[in-house]
């Protein structure tokens, strides 16, 4: 890939992070010269929770977390059958420590976490401790037939700098010997192979810039201000679980969490073509949001929560009757609160244009995978389809426009067990 004179730098980086690879990277580095903050000398000083990102990234004026703009999901397989060897562990330890030393753990440097699948833990004779709620991935709606991601591990990289993601990947796969001034001891690929690489991005302006892809209709419908292809803000502070809440509290994996990651194709021709703004608000939030004009533009007026009230959540059936539609947020919220009203899921979804198709990578963190499954079931709204206007996917939130292609479940262990952990760590 070549950086041409007059070629917009952002355009170039966007293409580069999607394409990946060392060629993309070397070109990147030629045109990005801001220094990247370096990491720690002693990685054991880093926080125990791999998933503790919120105090390491930007927040907006309302305290909403702004996820790093560029992300990469590396699906990894151990190179052999059976349990990991000490050599495997040394490789993985060195590879992750290299990243910790090379980059500040922040949006300006690099955030990363590694997680392990139920298939990985099957390598061990002993099952996971009872308190770990980590079933294999399964079908979560009466109409989807996703592929199940059963790779051993998932390494999630996130940074506001595209060149950081690319350089980190190059260090992991042995294409670089030094990364941000740090020597790469061993590439991760000495022990694990990269079975799949998925790239993501999020943040205002980015979807609008990238809307020339399959799934987004002509006419540049995605607003410039929107962080997501559907044209609205999401992930409001008031509608997200805290990192404390999703953290496993006891047992060998205390300090860890579980992670469900789905990939959903977005087909937004009818979203933007057949639905007007009010109908989109009704289907994404609730019909009451539309009727009362609660959402302006991309939702910049909403502040720190989506404006969803207990009444709206409770009245979903009445809305179905009165408006012939129900909202995605109001349906899902029915299962996304505990008895005390705390939100159960911490959603960290990002957009993707891998393969020139608009898609959503949807990592969700929760104490146990069942919580995610329950919220997804509520989001299906199957219980509301006895109202004739509410169909399996039509007038039923945003189900008409999203197509789940992949699902995977993972355990994000605490840092002390992040290196190819056994199922019953000491």
């Amino acid at each position: 890939m070549e950086a041409r004179a007059g070629y917009d730098r952002r355009e170039f980086l966007k293409a580069a992070v999607a394409a990946g690879g060392v060629a993309a990277l070397s070109a990147c580095l030629d045109i990005t010269d801001d220094p990247v903050p370096t990491g720690v000398d002693d990685p054991t000083t880093l926080p125990e929770r791999q998933h503790a990102w919120n105090d390491r990234v930007r927040t907006d004026e309302y305290g909403n977390v702004k996820l790093p703009r560029h992300q990469s999901l590396l699906y990894l397989n151990l190179d052999h059958e059976g349990t990991p060897t000490e050599t495997d562990r040394e490789v993985v330890r060195d590879a992750l420590r290299t990243l910790d030393r090379a980059y500040e753990r922040s949006n300006e440097g690099l955030l990363h976490s590694i997680a392990y699948s139920p298939s990985y833990f099957e390598r061990f004779d002993a099952s996971l401790p009872e308190e770990i709620d980590l079933p294999p991935p399964r079908r979560l709606s009466p109409f989807e037939e996703p592929k199940f991601d059963t790779q051993d591990a998932l390494l999630h990289l996130a940074s506001d700098r595209a060149d950081v993601i690319l350089a980190a990947e190059a260090a992991l796969n042995g294409e670089r010997e030094r990364v941000n001034g740090i020597t790469v001891d061993a590439p991760l690929t000495d022990a694990m192979s990269i079975a799949d690489r998925r790239s993501g991005f999020v943040g205002s302006g980015m979807p609008a810039e990238r809307q020339d892809v399959g799934g987004i209709p002509d006419g540049n419908p995605v607003p410039e201000a929107s962080p997501l292809f559907m044209g609205f803000e999401a992930g409001f502070r008031g509608n997200q679980a805290t990192e404390d809440y999703v953290t496993i509290g006891e047992g060998a994996f205390a300090g860890g969490t579980t992670k469900h990651v789905s990939r959903l194709r977005q087909r937004l021709a009818d979203w933007y073509g057949e639905q007007d703004f009010e109908q989109r608000v009704a289907e994404l939030f609730s019909p009451a949001h539309a009727a009362d004009g609660l959402v302006e533009g991309v939702g910049e007026n909403l502040g720190s929560d989506s404006g969803l009230t207990p009444e709206m959540i409770e009245n979903v059936r009445e809305h179905a009757r009165e408006f012939g539609r129900v909202g995605h947020a109001q349906k899902a919220a029915r299962a996304n609160r505990d008895d005390e009203g705390n939100v159960r899921l911490l959603r960290r979804h990002v957009e993707s244009t891998d393969g020139d198709v608009a898609a959503l990578h949807f990592p969700s963190l929760q104490r146990g995978i069942s919580a995610f499954e329950e919220v997804r079931e509520a989001m299906n709204g199957t219980d509301l389809t006895d109202e004739p206007a509410i169909r399996q996917r039509v007038n039923n939130g945003i189900l008409e426009y999203i197509f789940t292609t992949h699902r995977g479940n993972f355990l994000v262990p605490p840092r002390r067990h992040r290196i190819l952990p056994p199922s019953r760590p000491e």
């Binding site: 020339d212 892809v213 539609r325 109202e387 206007a389 399996q392 039509v394």
Partner: protein, 347 residues
């Protein structure tokens, strides 16, 4: 050149090629406008279009047929509102999927259907398609698809579990999704062979006959004398009701008798699905039961709306339409089945 510029250039070339063929201009401009004096009822549209079969297959509990025709205008229905979906310039075909029980042959109107189109493994289009009612095609799911050039495609028809209650021998069936895949060659000259006729009798209170589609059912409801129990009939607007009272079928977990109401279209007798129906039952001038009916599929009773009622003697049943059929309408059905008067029948 970006992707869209590339696609635009491709289609410009296509138009030039077509223009060279003389009379083969875009089909869209041939379609006569919607009749401006159409009645608020079932009527014969101003033109009729045929269809061509892509294929038929069985998967899971389902049999699936895929057919195609020219892009259609149609009307979606949400509650009492009707919204027209016009033909867009980019629309290439109207794809139709008919889904039925592979054992009984009964059309299943309440399954969600999505279509995924790929070419050489790359995604070309993917849409949730709509439950529809058409005079020649009957009960099916369909949508217009844009962005197809002539060539070979793989079309995956993804069928969701049914949202209507299965009873009788249907209990435990149709609860899993399944995908039927078809090879589809899109060839405009072949599509132009599909019947397209203007009709002099457009606007008449009547309906076009169901097409004969080899082994593909159209969703015609069983005749009154084919249903079990003592059947009675009633008429309300263009809705024809057949009702029967019998022992509750398996899958209905209440005691008493079972009232099954089967609404169908006037003329063609197609199942009317996704309605909201409410009944009151009077005996000796006294109201003894009120209920919203449950959308149900049953191999004996067909697609119907049912509830249990107290045992004992004859009575008068009033059937009110709370929600008109929530199915998209092809031309000739778009103004029908709204504002249906309450029907009364003796059971």
């Amino acid at each position: 050149m970006n992707r869209r510029a590339f696609l635009a250039a491709g289609s410009a070339a296509g138009v030039a090629a077509l223009a060279g063929c003389g009379s083969l201009e875009s089909r869209a401009i041939d379609i006569p406008p919607v009749l401006d004096d159409r009645p608020d009822a079932v009527y014969v549209p101003g033109h009729v279009e045929g269809m061509d079969m892509v294929g038929m297959g069985t998967v899971g509990d389902y049999a699936v047929a895929l057919s195609y025709s020219y892009p259609h205008r149609f009307w979606t229905v949400t509650g009492d509102e009707r919204e027209r979906t016009s033909i867009e310039d980019a629309d290439a075909v109207h794809l139709m999927a008919t889904v039925w029980d592979r054992k009984s042959g009964m059309v299943l109107p309440d399954v969600g259907v999505a279509v995924e189109i790929t070419q050489d493994g790359s995604l070309v289009a993917e849409e949730t398609i709509y439950a529809m009612l058409s005079q020649p095609m009957g009960v099916h799911h369909g949508a217009n698809f844009a962005g197809l050039d002539e060539g070979d495609y793989e079309v995956a028809v993804r069928v969701g579990a049914t949202t209507s209650r299965p009873t009788g021998a249907f209990v435990g069936r149709f609860d899993e999704p399944a995908t039927a895949t078809f090879d589809f060659t899109f060839d405009r000259s072949e599509m132009r062979e599909i019947r397209f006729d203007r009709l002099d009798r457009g606007g008449e209170r009547d309906a076009l006959e169901a097409m004969s589609m080899e082994n593909v059912p159209t969703g015609t409801a069983p005749a009154a004398d084919e249903l079990p129990g003592g059947t009675v009939t009633a008429t309300a607007g263009d809705v024809r009701y057949v009702a029967t009272v019998l022992e509750p079928p398996a899958g209905v977990d209440s005691v008493g008798s079972y009232l099954a109401v089967s609404p169908r279209t006037r003329y063609n007798g197609y199942h009317l699905s996704r309605m909201g129906l409410a009944v009151t039952l009077d005996r000796d001038g006294e109201s003894i039961a009120e209920a919203e009916l449950t959308r149900t599929i049953d191999p004996e009773l067909g697609y119907h709306y049912g509830t249990t009622v107290p045992d004992g003697g004859n009575g008068e049943v009033s059937i009110a339409v709370d929600t008109p059929p929530q199915v998209a309408r092809h031309e000739g059905y778009e103004t029908a089945f709204f504002d249906v008067p309450t029907a009364t029948l003796s059971v």
